[in-house]
């Protein structure tokens, strides 16, 4: 979470969004990550997405665990509250935050160590609860901050910088989320903003748990030749299966598509996702088939990306709980405390 203040320079004539804000208003402090770290690209995609969506920065809360990836919330949305939890435990903090204030827009940034090792249980249960948040894993196959040990997402056969070869099978958060009934499951690459930004926007607007597993190379510990999580490798074996375009509410769909080529999914706030198949044999509605598709491509060394599954109809945690629409942290005390008379009455039972 180290950070350096960044001078905010706003040029005249900078683009402004519907709120009249410039992109500077969505930035954070100066990154202290290694020059070239994939995580910084994800940060800038996040900045771009929130800016373009015209989200009021202070209506967002940004959360993370511990790791290089988990430092990044300091580098976007200075005007949003942040929570840097203990290692692997951000999902529970997010659950509590959402329980208390369902109107906050939550974005969580985690790493493959943070989410797939120490935090696997909390991650899985957040998926299960369909907690309303965007959850980004900046996946680099190593523990960056502790200097490059293999993480649980390291591929079989991949080599560490010091030569060690990983022989344990990886845990793939995308497959996990599929098997756990995740309602928004996507994968992308920090080097491909064109793919990533619409996914982030859609994830912000999705009503429920939106997972984006972003391959985000670690230039310092996992960007060498025999690594399967390097820029070069990822770029080469990147295999987009579905393309997603995000269209905000009220905005027209501009591009013309051939009939049947595009599937439109409407989100709760009226925005839409336009989904276009890139790989013909990918089917979006089938978790099992998705897993299969991912596994078989993975065997060939390919990394399937895109919005791989979405279901906007499942109830989120509050729907399941039937929570009042008013954020709980906003309820007046007299709605909460039954008062003296009630106390008298209820004690009859105990007499």
């Amino acid at each position: 979470m180290t950070s350096i203040t960044k001078p905010q320079i706003i040029h005249e004539g900078m683009a402004r969004n519907a709120l009249g804000l410039t992109i500077r208003d969505y930035e954070g402090r100066m990154s202290t990550l290694c020059a070239g770290c994939g995580h910084d690209s994800v940060t800038s995609a996040i900045v771009q997405s929130f800016f373009e969506l015209s989200v009021p920065p202070h209506s967002v809360a940004k959360l993370s665990g511990i790791g290089c990836s988990s430092k990044t919330p300091a580098y976007f949305l200075s005007a949003a509250h942040g929570f840097n939890a203990v290692h692997g435990r951000m999902p529970s903090i997010a659950t509590g935050a959402n329980a208390a204030n369902r109107e906050l827009s939550l974005i969580g940034i985690s790493g493959d160590g943070d989410s797939l090792s120490i935090g696997l249980g909390q991650f899985a249960h957040a998926v299960r609860r369909n907690l309303n948040m965007l959850y980004i894993i900046e996946n680099n196959g190593v523990y960056g901050l502790t200097k490059g040990q293999f993480s649980a997402s390291a591929d079989v056969g991949t080599k560490a910088k010091k030569g060690e070869v990983n022989e344990q099978q990886p845990i793939d958060p995308v497959q996990m989320a599929m098997a756990l009934g995740g309602t928004f499951v996507a994968r992308s690459f920090s080097g491909d903003k064109e793919q990533l930004i619409p996914l982030i926007k859609a994830g912000i607007r999705h009503n429920g748990f939106a997972l984006i597993d972003v391959l985000s190379p670690c230039v310092t510990f996992n960007d060498h030749e025999d690594s399967t999580k390097s820029y070069a490798y990822t770029r080469q074996f990147f295999h987009p299966a579905m393309h997603a375009d995000f269209v905000p509410p009220a905005e027209e769909i501009k591009t013309a598509y051939d009939e049947g080529e595009v599937m439109t999914i409407e989100l709760h706030d009226g925005s839409r996702i336009l989904l276009r198949k890139i790989s013909k044999d990918y089917s979006l509605n089938n978790r099992g088939a998705a897993i299969d598709y991912i596994r078989s491509h993975h065997r060939k060394g390919e990394i399937v990306t895109g919005l791989l599954y979405i279901d906007e109809s499942e109830p989120d945690m509050h729907a399941i709980n039937q929570t009042t629409k008013t954020p709980l942290n906003d309820l007046p005390f007299d709605k909460l405390c039954p008062g003296g008379e009630a106390l008298e009455t209820l004690q009859q039972r105990f007499r």
Binding site: A79, N84, R89, A99, A100, H125, P338
Partner: protein, 605 residues
């Protein structure tokens, strides 16, 4: 009757030996409630196994006209319904006592004692003749022995009837059967034994203004009254019923009758690490949030507890203590988590603890816990134990002050933020060590990062030694503020006593009884019961007023004494521990013995 029969009206102990999963618990609870409604003070302790069905379980009821609401250590009447434990039950009966058993099956003739009265009632037989369904037969046997006791002890039959009717008001069909079973048991006793026994009850008027309630129920209700909206938990005995209480009272008081919408959110977490995380996430956002747990949960939560201490987040935890270490005995009581709760988590940490001694205090201190957590921006752990939490206690009725408004502490809202020039999270503006906080979503001006890593007084990340130290030094000053805010101890002074007792929580009634009995023998003691950690001046003063302090607590390692040693200046040499930690609630005998022993030594020396 053989032995030296005791005639003890309204002053005796009944112990009921049963098999768990047979419905005996509700019959025994009913028995206790009948006595309570007859105006006689009564205490009940349930000894149940960590198992669902088929193992021995005991229920102990002390009828105590003088309101000695701790165990006495004696057993005057034994209802020995469990063949497995018959021998042991017979053995544990006090001389002169009465044992009642189910004579449907003959008992082993070796198993007898000359100094007690043994009464056989063919309960199974009676019930099998009357009821046909297997489950009903089992359940009604309990009612039948209740009936036998009604006759032997002279229980008020109308009170019983009313209670049965209330209890089964939603299942009318059962009322008749239950009453019949009671009658069967009573009739048999009346026909075969001289009723009532010399040991029996007689109506009094000493329970007015009181209720029978367990501490978990009271604490859960306290959370409702405090305005808690988020509860997160992972089931664990003996804390589970605290959340059950919160849920059921919330269902009653906090659901919009029209929409069915809930003004609360209970999250059954995947484990305790998540439960405390949910609490912290919620209090970060300004909801009052809590988690009930027990020892293993505290251990699992300790990383996050340290986080909350350092990042200064309010949190309310209830540690309903059970026997440790480790899984220990989940259905037995102990006060073994005091030290770990006080200093939970690595690094320099310390936490506010509250120690209720009875259900009424559970209710009150639950409310207080939220105020303190919000005011001090730190975790507050309410230390119950299985005895307070799960046993029904005769307690003063709960009261509510309508003027109560939650103390939410130093929170700046959007408006206040607008008026201030700049907001920094960890400045000590008021000299009390407590900084100001803001909620997410309120305003961009209030934005800051909550973090467990090094931070300076502005809330920024730091690895600078001076900036770091400034923050932890202020945290220590905040602790000095805490001393002034926590509830004061309860003190009972007798004139000019040089010996003092310090105790905590569920030891209370045992200490009081011991003091009474010792006083009758001419040994006078003063008494202080701590209600909170940090202890504060009153505790220090009390200690210093006494030549010798006996610290009574229910753990092996003298944990309260350790805290007193660490946090006051009273000399170790003048403190003596009285410890009871086998898992059954303390009774006054060990206290009396230890103090008499001490006095005898003093005299001899």
């Amino acid at each position: 009757m053989p032995g030296r029969a005791k005639s003890r009206v309204n002053d005796f102990v009944i112990r009921l030996a049963n098999v768990n999963g047979t419905g005996s618990a509700s019959a025994n609870g009913l028995l206790m409630k009948v006595i309570f409604r007859m105006g006689i003070p009564v205490m009940g302790k349930n000894f149940f196994p960590s198992n669902i069905q088929g193992l021995p379980t005991w229920y102990e009821i002390r009828v105590t006209k003088d309101s000695n609401l701790a165990r006495s250590g004696e057993i005057d009447i034994m209802v020995a319904m469990n063949a497995e434990t018959y021998q042991q039950d017979l053995k544990s009966l006090s001389p002169g006592g009465v044992l009642i058993y189910d004579s449907t099956w003959p008992r082993n003739s070796v198993l007898t004692r000359q100094d007690v009265t043994i009464l056989g009632v063919p309960l199974a037989k009676i019930c099998n003749e009357r009821f046909s369904d297997a489950r009903t037969r089992i359940l009604m046997k309990n009612m039948a022995y209740l009936g036998t006791l009604a006759a032997l002890l002279d229980l008020d039959r109308q009170v019983i009837k009313n209670l049965v009717e209330e209890t089964f008001s939603s299942k009318q069909a059962l009322i008749q059967a239950n009453i019949e079973a009671i009658d069967l048991g009573a009739s048999y006793a009346q026909e075969h034994f001289k009723c009532p026994l010399p040991t029996r009850v007689k109506s009094l008027d000493k329970t007015a203004g009181h209720i029978m309630i367990d501490g978990n129920t009271a604490a859960g209700l306290g959370c409702v009254y405090a305005g808690a909206t988020v509860g997160a938990w992972y089931p664990i005995t003996p804390s589970t019923s605290l959340m059950d209480s919160f849920k059921s009272f919330s269902e009653r008081f906090r659901v919009d009758p029209k929409t069915g919408e809930r003004n609360y959110c209970v999250v059954q977490a995947e484990d305790e690490l998540a439960a405390i995380g949910i609490v912290l996430g919620a209090s970060w956002n300004g909801a009052r949030a809590f988690t009930p747990t027990s020892g293993p949960g505290i251990s699992l939560m300790s990383e996050f507890i340290g986080f909350a201490y350092f990042a200064e987040l309010p949190a309310v935890l209830f540690d309903v203590q059970r026997v440790g270490p480790s899984t220990g005995m989940p259905t037995r009581t102990q006060q073994g988590d005091i030290l770990i709760a006080a200093y939970a988590s690595h690094g320099d940490t310390r936490h506010v603890l509250l120690f209720p001694a009875n259900p009424k205090e559970c209710f009150e201190l639950a409310v207080k816990a939220f105020d303190l957590a919000d005011r001090l921006q730190t975790p507050v752990i309410v230390m119950l134990d299985l005895d307070i939490g799960m046993n029904d206690w005769m307690s003063e009725a709960l009261e509510w002050n309508e003027d109560y408004r939650p103390d939410r502490g130093k929170v700046l809202g959007a408006k206040e933020l607008e008026e201030t020039e700049s907001f920094y999270r960890y400045l000590d503006l008021d000299g009390d060590g407590i900084p100001y906080r803001t909620y997410p979503g309120a305003s961009a001006k209030g934005a800051y990062f909550v973090r467990g890593s090094g931070h300076n007084k502005y809330g920024g990340y730091t690895e600078d030694e001076d900036e770091y130290q400034e923050v932890v030094d202020r945290l220590k000053r905040k602790w000095d503020t805490a001393v002034k805010l926590v509830p004061e101890p309860v003190i009972k002074m007798r004139k000019s006593a040089k010996l003092g007792i310090v105790s905590v929580g569920s030891c209370d009634y045992a200490v009081l009884e011991a003091m009474d009995r010792l006083a009758r023998k001419g040994i006078h003691l003063n008494y202080l019961r701590v209600k909170a950690f940090p202890f504060g001046d009153k505790v220090a003063k009390f200690l210093n007023q006494h030549e010798r302090i006996f610290v009574v607590e229910q753990n092996r390692d003298a944990q309260l004494k350790s805290l007193l040693l660490l946090e006051t200046d009273y000399s170790k040499a003048r403190m003596e521990s009285i410890l009871s930690y086998s898992g059954v609630p303390i009774d006054c005998r060990c206290i009396i013995e230890a103090i008499e022993g001490h006095v005898a030594k003093e005299v001899a020396a």
